[in-house]
Amino acid sequence: MLAKDMVAASAKPLLLSILAEGESYGYEIIQRVRKLSGGEIEWSDGMLYPVLHRLERDGLIDSEWKEADTGRQRKYYFISSAGKKVLKTERQQWLTVHNTLGKLWKHQPVTI
């Protein structure tokens, strides 16, 4: 299981990356992160929303209530143009960390 600090630090790039693929809602985002990380990244369901709201307040994502296939209303989030720019920067920063650690640990570097 990933350390709490790492989970917190990676929340922003993870959320922006998921929403860059297309609009999504809280429950789906959590399921996706769980699946992608093989259960290593475990977000507390309720705590996801304050993070989403913070990103929305910062103008990185937008939201809209829409009717889902089930007929119920759901709040969908999608990335904004400002969010795409921030994601680009975040990606470069995380890759720098990844490559640096990779070199130290004799792994192959990853390029954008």
Partner: protein
Amino acid sequence: METPTRYDLNAAIENWRAELAAQPDLTAEVRRELETHLRDAIAGFQQHGLSDEESFWLARRRVGQPQPLAEEFVKVDPAAVWRERVFWIMLGLLVLRFWNILCSSFLSPFFFHASLSHLSRFEDIFPQWVRYYLPDWIRDSAYTPALFFVIGLINSILALLAVYFITRGKLQKARLAMDFIFTNRVRFILLTALFATLLAMAGHFIWNSLSEPQLHGRFFSVMFSNNFLGLLLPASIAAWLMPTQNQKTPKHA
């Protein structure tokens, strides 16, 4: 043999909703969103073969305790709850103002004719240099007070329509302009001071150009305070306080 009582999932969700509602820091929209999540989680567990009761308890556990949740939301946006409250106060003030002007518009001919009957023509409230440009129908109008309040009525309808359209996501430029003004305290104070100065200067200019300053000045001060500041300020604040996406929030998630 006893028949097991069926677990009432809806009642359980209702109780959980009441627990959330007891947290004053969770806005109505946040509560709806959390409820949607809870229902999604319950459906997910049910698909894995869990019973209603097990699904509810697991989903509830995943969503978390209401109080720590509320604390997290306060950290993100400490003013969120107050914004919502002030919005309703402002909207209430605006509607009251509209009602006041509506009533005054009907009563004004009687009220003003009793106290200011010597102002018989609409053009009397304008300075001499403005009267020259007035169309004949205004210049010759004998219902000064009535027309004066009809203008106020039109203003309030326009203000209410502006709030409606801005909160529905229309008039984006007006909303952006309000974001620019209201999102910074210093900017808001400076712009309000500038606006008040301009109003004072305009009032002073008009006052000096009136033939009977005391009499006409009263009309202009009423016009500015009642129909302009009295409407524009609550209308602007109400429109700005209600985020666009909140209008898209359904009654039941």
